[in-house]
């Protein structure tokens, strides 16, 4: 089968990049027109991605790589290029589809914002960078795009920069992910020094770490893998660098759906999948990935139980689900990890967009002030319900299949990881039930007037919800115990999914138990009280305060570093600036002294001239005698 569209894959990031350029050049005057430009650009990218994916569905589609020499400095040659494989085709579909839907949704959600074209410009830039990240054929190109999406994330979290919380959240996100980025950068440098011919592309990684293992020592491999994983931990909000993701919810809700749920935070997972050959060569690294993933999954899920901000609950849920993906990768199954990334992108984007629709209607994010909205917003409630069921892992929704794949992979690795994953699944179902019942069921608890004004969002916002709901139901069927299409497509049939009825039954059991308890506590009576929480107030407090991680970081890192920074800035002001000021002021003083000479008296000038001549004569005559 000929490959046609794959060759033109590099157009995919170019469309949104062009849209960004147009929107930036034309400025704010464009308003809605600019929004449409960006939306059409993302539609073009989506169509191209769809064509590529369809082309690759054939059995014998070969991987396509195109690269150019980017930099040559002496013997150092750096390449930039793109690579189209089944994996990148899948990611292209995910990114462009969610980006397109979020663009459409934002047409409604951001309608009244005066900086709407700036918003769409940033989203277009983000889409372009994310597609670049997906397509990159080597780690360096990936890293550039990796930083670009970080910048876009920063800009969009701080989009409403007049809110001090948004400013703080943007800074926090940028600085915390920076820690991870540094790890990735060091890993790239280590690879550059140690790879034969300084190759940084993924094919060479496969050759070195998979086919001829032993070329790079195990301890170095482990170090590199852990540093790469540090980058992924920062970007994907894994413990202990998860703290930025919940705060990032200060950004507009479509951004939370696009960047902080479906695509950018999944970039960390994608990075690990892309460099999985390195991880596979080191057991220690794999174990670390699995343990961090599992811990993050249960940690974040338990925090999600006690939050009251609708977006924060979803954010912690995202962190937890990303932990699931890492758990699957650590257990050695890229298929399960990518499968969960695939389904999660749809149902979590759906949940965020539905939450945005709710916020749009009632203008609050506190779930204690909501309730009974299901009667007013039918489409939102139904689609949110579908998303919640998918996230909770109820068959036949998408999340069930992918979560089962993750849990099965975990069980293959270690029963402990499986148990932790199962507990996290229980928590997931519980907090989703709490969220759903408190927001959509029962009586309205908040401002009665706000409730009376709450109405269903316009079609431009509900349409993406419906599309995503369809995917949340159907996306799971690409990989089921009786149909392992995705796995064989992604890995050329190398990976076989493992299936056991025990996993299925226990996961359904955990999810149903979670939903039932949720209904018992929050759904049956409209009181919305949790007897367990009331009996154990210290536990509730611990969860509400997010295990005091933020406070701990504040005490252990932020304050000492701020103190150090203040000390350094004082040193800078006193010593460095002082030296500069000294030079400046001494020249100024010399100048002032010289202005005294300018008296305006011609006779004085004549005297200076004579003195100068005398000095000159003395100098010339003196030289003769020396």
């Amino acid at each position: 089968m000929d490959i046609v569209f794959s060759q033109y894959a590099w157009f995919a990031p170019l469309f949104p990049l062009a849209a960004f350029a147009v929107l930036t050049a034309m400025g704010r005057g464009l308003r809605t027109t600019g929004a449409w430009v960006a939306t059409i650009a993302s539609l073009l990218s989506f169509v191209l991605s769809l064509l590529i994916a369809i082309e690759r569905l054939g059995d014998s589609a070969e991987d396509y790589t195109g690269r150019i020499e980017w930099l040559r400095a002496g013997s150092i040659v750096l390449h930039a290029g793109y690579e189209v494989t089944n994996l990148t085709a899948l990611m292209l579909i995910i990114v462009t589809l969610v980006a397109l839907l979020v663009n459409i949704y934002s047409l409604g959600y951001m309608k009244d914002d005066e900086r709407i074209s700036v918003f769409f410009g940033y989203v277009a830039l983000f889409t372009a960078s994310m597609l670049g990240l997906v397509l990159a054929d080597n780690l360096l190109t990936l890293y550039i795009c990796w930083e670009l999406v970080g910048v876009c994330s920063f800009l969009l979290i701080g989009f409403w920069f007049r809110k001090p919380e948004a400013r703080a959240a943007a800074k926090k996100a940028f600085i915390v992910t920076r820690i991870g980025d540094l790890g990735l950068l060091i890993a790239i440098l280590l690879l550059y020094w140690n790879m034969p011919n300084h190759e940084l592309d993924f094919t060479s990684f496969y050759n070195v770490f998979h086919s001829q293992s032993g070329l790079i020592s195990t301890s170095l491999t482990t170090l590199i893998a852990l540093l790469i994983f540090l980058g992924a931990v920062g970007k994907s909000g894994q413990f202990p660098l998860h703290v930025w993701l919940p705060d990032a919810m200060e950004g507009p809700t479509p951004i939370s759906a696009l960047i902080h749920a479906a695509t950018m935070v999944a970039a960390g997972v994608y990075l690990v999948v892309r460099t999985f050959d390195i991880f596979a060569a080191s057991d220690a690294a794999l174990t670390t990935v699995a343990v961090v993933g599992a811990f993050t999954a249960i940690f974040a899920a338990s925090v999600g139980l006690a939050q009251n901000d609708i977006k924060r609950i979803l954010a912690y849920s995202t962190v937890s689900q990303l932990g699931y993906m890492m758990l699957a990768l650590g257990a050695g199954s890229t298929t399960a990890g990518m499968f969960h990334l695939f389904t999660h992108a749809f149902f979590k984007a759906l949940l965020f967009l539905a939450a945005g629709s709710v916020i749009h209607a009632v203008h609050t994010q506190d779930i204690r002030e909501m309730g009974g909205l299901g009667r007013r917003m039918k489409i939102t409630a139904w689609t949110f319900g579908i998303g919640a069921l998918a996230l909770s892992g109820i068959p036949p929704f998408a999340g069930f299949w992918s979560k089962d794949a993750v849990l099965a992979a975990a069980l293959d690795d270690s029963p402990w990881l499986f148990a932790v994953g199962l507990a996290a699944a229980f928590f997931t179902a519980l907090y989703m039930a709490r969220l759903f019942f408190l927001v959509f069921m029962g009586k309205a608890r908040g401002d009665a007037r706000a409730y009376a004004h709450a109405k269903e969002s316009p079609l431009v916002m509900t349409l993406p919800l419906l599309v995503l709901a369809v995917f949340s139901v159907a996306a799971g069927f690409v990989e089921t115990p009786w149909n392992e299409w995705l796995g064989s497509w992604l890995t050329d049939g190398e990976e076989k999914g493992s299936f056991s009825s025990m996993v299925v039954i226990s996961s359904i059991g955990a999810s149903l138990l979670g939903l039932y308890l949720g209904w018992l506590f929050y759904g049956r009576t409209s009181a919305g009280r949790n007897p367990v929480a009331e009996r154990l107030p210290w536990l509730t407090r611990l969860l509400e305060r997010k295990y005091y991680v933020d406070e701990l970081y504040e005490l252990a890192f932020v304050r000492p570093l701020a103190k150090l920074g203040r000390g350094l800035s004082r040193f800078d002001e006193a010593v460095v600036d002082g030296a500069v000021r000294l030079v400046g002021s001494s020249v100024q003083a010399a100048g002032k002294l010289n202005t005294r000479l300018q008296s305006g008296q011609v006779q004085a000038y004549a005297l200076y001239g004579v003195l100068g001549a005398v000095i000159l004569i003395l100098a010339i005559a003196g030289r003769r005698f020396w």
């Binding site: 300018q598 305006g600 008296q601 011609v602 006779q603 000038y605 004549a606 005297l607 004579v610």
Partner: protein, 102 residues
């Protein structure tokens, strides 16, 4: 060569007296006179060299005639400037002319 050096010494003395006058005198008319003194010291040099110099010729004397002519014109202009200054400021004290500072 003693003749030459005695002329040159005389010229140097004249020049220095003129210079002293230019720098120290407060009256603008005296300053102008001192300038003339310095010019004539130079003329004396020219003439001394034209008579006793290594390539003695009339050239120096002719040149000093020109200098005198120009000096006369210069003195006329100088006096004219001085008179208009006096009309404006009612003084010829050079200490009070410090426009160059502004």
């Amino acid at each position: 060569m003693t003749m030459l050096s005695s002329y040159l010494t005389l010229a140097a003395v004249l020049f220095c007296i003129g210079l002293y006058g230019v720098i120290t005198k407060r009256n603008a008319v005296i300053v102008l006179l001192s300038i003339e003194l310095m010019l004539n010291a130079v003329n004396l040099n020219l003439i001394a060299f034209s008579k006793y110099g290594i390539n003695a010729s009339l050239r120096g004397q002719v040149f000093s005639l020109f200098t005198m002519t120009v000096a006369a014109a210069e003195a006329a202009v100088g006096i004219a400037v001085l008179i208009s200054l006096y009309r404006r400021r009612v003084t010829v004290n050079v200490d009070e002319f410090d426009e160059l500072r502004r």
